[in-house]
């Protein structure tokens, strides 16, 4: 039997952990989590959550545990792609927040409560969020405040308020802090006017202040801790607090628009027939590659990603622009089912390994390789706007995917002329011959087709080396 490998992200909660053995994924329930797990299953909460599609499904198996002290070994449903909150658009983080609160309200009806409210416990499938940590539910202790309140505010409310009220790019604060955005920082960055919203005043500004007041006492916080233990909240009070928090989150709004490529398709010089020809070409390349997983790099609002998902590929649609990802997600939410997963990604600074030992959150590369990458109208942005040599682009892409559908955009193209208008052209080898030479170092070129109605060329390539993914 292959050795079990315990997930490096799964060590905080003594109730259990996730591990893999070969290709199979398991969750071990430890003796410490046995009572709460059994209650989740017996109380009807698991079925209620499943019926709403709020919690990942699992089956109890006879598989050998990964360590001693196991109560049960579960086999959870596999998800297509694990994404992180710093890769989500505003509405994804907001939907994840609302799901967490709704699950907490439902749990209370079944005598249980969420013991954590980490944004990392939420994943997306078919345009909808779902909770993935089966062991997050514990017996509700009557009268006790919500243990995960602080974590909820740090992981969800603070970043959402900053995105809505200051700047959507502040979501990237989630990348630097593994436990969300510190409330004192959020409180300092938010405009004073947010103090006139009762929800933001109470759950953010006053929350930050009370935290500070009770953490920095002369006795090292002992008196505060004892006072905290004696706090009693009624059921009505707790439900009221959660509903208030829910309405505070739901009221926050961010409207995409005004950012880089929000209206890219309108702004380009594509005519309708050239656009349709390009779609047909991509469809034909994808049919030839027949991938099970596709990463569309520079997907914009996901027009081409949807060709891949329509062909049955599990598709992730990455883009650098929060407005494009937002629009793509709103569309995916309406479509449901086989829609692509829209995510925010700056390919020139991709998600690194983060957290303890740099291993709690996987880097982009560690989550690959994809069967097929799509890089349409992308290479000029990386090569010219970011000065990345073509050979470096080819090398990195060969680490991310086994096959590659890539569009070469020459200097004669109006989009490249626009990029070069304000700067010196130092890109001597940026031409089709240079492109093919650079990519031939890492890929074999399987197919080459001109993109009708443009100066561009579409390639289907297969990588030469096949290093195993980490």
């Amino acid at each position: 039997m292959t050795d079990a490998s315990i997930s490096p992200a799964s060590f905080r909660d003594p109730a259990g952990f996730v591990f893999t053995r070969g290709d199979a994924l398991y969750r071990q329930v430890n003796a410490a989590g046995a009572a709460d797990y059994d209650r989740l299953m017996a109380s009807g909460l698991y079925e209620a959550l499943r019926a709403r599609g709020w919690l990942v499904a699992h089956e109890e198996t006879d598989a050998a545990p990964a360590s001693a002290g196991a109560h049960k070994v579960l086999q959870p449903e596999r998800l297509g792609f694990i994404s992180y909150p710093y890769e989500w658009c505003f509405s994804q983080l907001q939907d994840a927040a609302l799901l967490t609160l709704d699950a907490q309200l439902l749990a209370l009806e079944h005598g249980m409560s969420l013991k954590d409210a980490s944004a990392y416990n939420v994943q997306f499938r078919g345009g909808k969020p779902l909770l993935i940590d089966t062991l997050s539910f514990e017996a509700c202790v009557e009268g006790r405040p919500w243990i995960a309140y602080r974590q909820f505010c740090q992981h969800f409310l603070a970043p959402l308020a900053l995105m809505a009220k200051v700047d959507v790019r502040l979501a990237q604060l989630l990348r630097s802090g593994i436990d969300g955005v510190p409330l004192d920082l959020a409180s300092r960055l938010l405009p004073g006017a947010t103090k006139f919203s009762f929800g933001l005043l109470a759950h953010l500004h006053l929350h930050a202040r009370t935290q500070r007041a009770h953490a920095a006492t002369d006795d090292g916080g002992t008196a505060s801790a004892s006072r905290a233990r004696s706090v009693h909240v009624s059921r009505n009070g707790l439900v009221g607090l959660l509903q208030g928090l829910r309405s505070t989150v739901a009221k926050l709004q961010w409207r995409p628009g005004g950012t880089e490529w929000g209206d890219y398709y309108q702004a380009t010089n594509y005519d309708e027939s050239a656009f349709r020809a390009k779609q047909a070409l991509v469809g034909s390349f994808l049919a030839q590659a027949a991938p099970r997983t596709v990463w569309d790099l520079g997907a914009n609002t996901g027009v081409f990603s949807r060709i891949a998902s329509a062909q049955g590929a599990n598709t992730v649609a990455f883009d650098i622009d929060p407005a494009a990802v937002e629009r793509n997600y709103r569309q995916a939410r309406r479509e449901g089912g086989q829609s692509p997963l829209p995510l925010l990604l700056d390919l020139t600074n991709p998600s690194p390994g983060l957290g303890w030992a740099g291993a709690e959150r996987d880097s982009l590369e560690a989550r690959g390789p994809a069967d097929c990458l799509m890089a349409l109208a992308l290479v000029h942005h990386i090569a010219i706007s970011n000065n990345v040599p073509l050979a470096h682009i080819a090398r990195y892409l060969s680490r991310l995917g086994r096959q590659l559908i890539i569009e070469f955009v020459p200097k004669a193209d109006s989009q490249v002329r626009r990029l070069l208008a304000s700067r010196e052209d130092i890109f001597g080898n940026y031409d089709q011959a240079g492109f093919e030479a650079a990519f031939s170092g890492h890929f074999t070129i399987d197919r080459v087709e001109p993109v009708q109605g443009s100066e561009r060329t579409m390639y289907l390539m297969t990588r030469k080396t096949h290093p195993e993914s980490p």
Partner: protein, 78 residues
């Protein structure tokens, strides 16, 4: 598992195992104390809404069958 066994199990669990749970994350003293205050205000609001609803029913402005808002999630709010 039948409905009855499930209900029985749930009751047994509720009676037997609801000891003081140990949180594995730090709930932070300030956050717990603040919740006491916000939940207190929320409870007053819910109760006020309940009485307001009853008053409207009494005056015949609202029908008895209409459920008051924010009062359908907890066993305390019957």
């Amino acid at each position: 598992m039948t409905q009855t066994t499930r209900a029985l199990l749930a009751t047994l669990l509720l009676l037997g195992l609801a000891g003081p749970a140990q949180a594995y994350i730090d709930p932070s003293s300030g956050s717990m104390i603040l919740q006491g205050i916000i939940a207190g205000i929320a409870a007053i609001l819910v109760t006020a809404k309940l009485w307001w609803h009853r008053l409207l029913v009494l005056l015949g402005i609202r029908k008895r069958t209409t459920r008051p808002p924010s009062n359908d999630a907890g066993p305390d709010g019957k």
